[in-house]
Symmetry: C2
Subunit: 478 residues, 2 copies
């Protein structure tokens, strides 16, 4: 049954033929205009639900003079005020624990997860049982498009705790009828055990952050194993931009001999696989029938034309518990019109999500994204796989220092080899960034690895701090 309505109610027994490229052929390949009409209808239904159940939305929309009935088209919808993460936190602080945007009775909450809360009070995700099933169905659809089929072994190597990445992947894999191996990550010694288990079980699909996959490959080699022997067919990633950066993608594909697929938007809008590539399509598709995504000008929050850069603004079309309606991401991407090589008629993000507005830093007037530096280094032969970016101010001048490690063998080859690697890195960075970076090469494995998301930028300028605050402020506009 190819179901599409709101609230969603999927047939738990539905399963396409393994030979089918699509889980839902009609929804995935329909003409974009026809889909837009259906989306406008769903938007009205989601808004009506939220307006009836959530003081948070009712108050916000009443103040802005918008009403669910007013939304007859996607253009009308652009007049609905956006929601920021700060507003969600404020709502939970005031009307806790789940905030006054919870649209189901508190007793119907099925799972509680949340943000990490490392920098203050966390935000809680309260997900209803019906939503839990809908998330499973949506993720199964996307993982099907990645080429995963019933009977595949899906190895999940990210922590099972607050982080929605692991849980969302598990849900999709369960619904799809795969063999789920929720190994997790985060505790001492787990990396060595992960590669031991992969070598025994031979999983066909793998999920983690791109950083951790590269680290696990290093651990495998230390343990005397070749990651290609794990027999992986597809590896999919979220949590970091890496899997849509061609040089990183290539590095992972060559190391493991598997296809790499990028996915992931925000935990708040789970099903977060609403942005996801497929086995045939690189970058990401915007699965508009799960979560309606507008790539917007970060000042006006109106959609930018296809071919332009902006920040994604998300609206859940299949959530009833805490539906996000025009949630501002603060991420950066550029979108183009569909269809992709796989035949799905969704818009595409050819470079995925390549950064956040507040990730960007400016050095001597040039805007630089950490992902650009990551990309350059991963294209450089001799790069050991990890680096740090340090920005300082030396008098009036910003200094950009990139500390990178060298592949094993470079140091043994002598000082000349190290000097040559540094010179090549500096040349490549200058060409791509348009600004001179000083490179410092260190020995292999000196820079710590991560089993989660990499944090590589260290900014030591006062200037950056104030810039960063200004950006946070921009994030708060309605």
């Amino acid at each position: 049954m190819e179901y599409w309505s709101y609230p969603p109610k999927y047939d738990p027994g539905y399963m396409p033929e393994p030979s089918s490229r699509y889980w839902f052929p009609v929804r995935e390949t329909m003409a974009a205009g026809e889909r837009d009409t259906a989306i406008a209808e769903r938007l009205r239904a989601v808004m009506a639900h939220a307006y009836a159940k959530a003081p948070f939305y009712r108050r916000k929309w009443d103040e802005a003079g918008v009403h669910p009935d007013h939304v007859r088209s996607l253009d009308d919808f652009e007049r609905v005020p956006v929601v920021t993460k700060a507003e969600l936190l404020e709502s939970q602080t005031r009307a806790g624990p789940f905030g006054d945007y919870l649209c189901i009775p508190e007793s119907d909450v099925h799972h509680i997860h949340g943000t990490s809360g490392t920098t203050g009070r966390p935000t809680m995700f309260a997900i209803g049982g019906g939503d839990w099933q809908a998330i499973a169905n949506n993720h199964a659809r996307v993982m099907w498009a990645m080429g995963i089929r019933p009977g595949d072994v899906v190895f999940i190597a990210s922590i099972f705790s607050l982080y929605m990445g692991s849980w969302g992947t598990l849900l999709g894999a369960e619904r799809l009828g795969a063999k789920c191996f929720p190994f997790g990550a985060g505790a001492q010694g787990m990396s060595a055990r992960a590669v031991m288990w992969m070598n025994i079980v031979k999983p066909t699909a793998f999920y983690s952050t791109p950083s951790y996959a590269l680290h696990l490959a290093e651990v495998a080699v230390e343990e005397g194993l070749d990651p290609r022997d794990f027999g992986l067919k597809v590896m999919f990633f979220s949590g970091e931009p890496g899997a849509s950066i061609p040089s990183i993608r290539r590095r992972i594909e060559e190391t493991y001999g598997a296809r790499v697929v990028d996915c992931g938007s925000m935990a708040e809008v789970t099903p977060w696989m609403n942005l996801a590539g497929t086995y045939e399509t690189e970058g990401m598709l915007v699965w508009q029938d799960m979560v309606y995504t507008e790539v917007c000008d970060p000042k006006t929050y109106r959609r930018v034309p296809y071919g332009s850069q902006g920040t994604p603004v998300y609206t859940n079309l299949e959530r009833t518990s805490q539906p996000m309606i025009r949630l501002v991401s603060g991420d950066l991407t550029h979108w183009v019109d569909g269809p992709g090589p796989c035949g799905r008629t969704y818009p595409r993000l050819p470079q995925g999500i390549y950064g956040r507005i507040d990730d960007m830093f400016t050095v001597r007037g040039e805007n630089i994204y950490p992902s650009a530096i990551d990309s350059v280094l991963n294209d450089l032969s001799g790069y050991g796989g990890e680096h740090r970016i340090v920005i300082t101010r030396d008098g009036a001048m910003d200094e950009l220092l990139v500390r990178m490690d060298a592949q094993a063998g470079i140091y043994e080859a002598g000082a000349d080899a190290v000097t040559r690697l540094r010179a090549r890195a500096e040349g490549d960075l200058l060409r791509v960034l348009g600004v001179r970076a000083r490179v410092e090469v260190v020995e292999a494995d000196v820079i710590p690895r991560t089993d989660f998301k990499a944090r590589r930028v260290i900014d030591d300028r006062d200037l950056f701090r104030s810039l960063s605050q200004k950006m946070d402020g921009a994030d708060g506009h309605g």
Copy 2:
């Protein structure tokens, strides 16, 4: 619907009235003799399934001259040869990855988990989708008996990885309609965040190991929080004997102001909540209609009479994927006849599982279980909450050293207070163990805490090593 058959097929919509003490009143309170007749019938059905599907069982039973059809009574069943963990590992090494005791098609495997594998090749648990549902139903029944109801918030503070404890608890909580907060454990900094979250969310039910619950209480105090303010109603534990040891139980109940319930058998026999106390019944009930448990003489593997000590031997009555049929646990308990105060007519384990055959050590001819030392110290005012047991041989004499930490304040009170604490500890240990132990008192928090299972015994005698090997060998008998 109160269902009982094999293979199990539960109604996913079934839910008792919140006021009902029992999930399945008939199955839980039927006359023991009537239940035994039904169990014998199930045993034949499970054995017939395993005989048809698993070369492992067919070979084993053919060699022993037993056949499913021969089993007409529980007495007949005692002639079925036992299975050891070593045999499971051997089967997986030979006929991997899931061994030739897998009784469903490999493509029907839904979840993969396993033993930790810290001491060699791990054993894999391959659980089918139908079994996953049956486990959920069984655990929901038991958690219902613990007093957990739909809408309760269940906070799970143990690692989500191979360990079946966390997953089994989550499954039961989901099926019961509770709000599930699978927080996990194991990564750096998670203990402090766990208490922060509990303070915000105010969960009503909590699951971890007893050791970790006591550690979390210490962390809460360090963070300026009172564990009683979390508002917990019931705390249930597995993985260690603690929750059935009166002094530890009392310590946890007083620290948190919540009821403590003990549960848990072995990961291999999941639904491992087949041994579990209830809100009204201390120790554990033996939920014979989920997993048929025989407390056996560890040499003959015949049942010992009620009132005696032995080792549990488990047989799954509701698993189809890897049903365990007479699996030897190596654990120690003593059982008595039912019913318990809650009216359930199952046999009971008043002291829970209090050790393992190979946990026991002998000092100067006395058999000592680590849990006895744990119990004595937890009854001692001034005990800081953690200890180590060190056994050495000084010439011809075994030396038993107990290194314990003192409560904060004891050291500040002066050397006399420390000396008095040591003397009291030595006196209490001598009285209970029948052998003199030397006690060394150290300052509060000097001995490392665990977020999983405590490992407290350090044995430095050659003698113990050979004894330990002999015990492992005994475990391998058929």
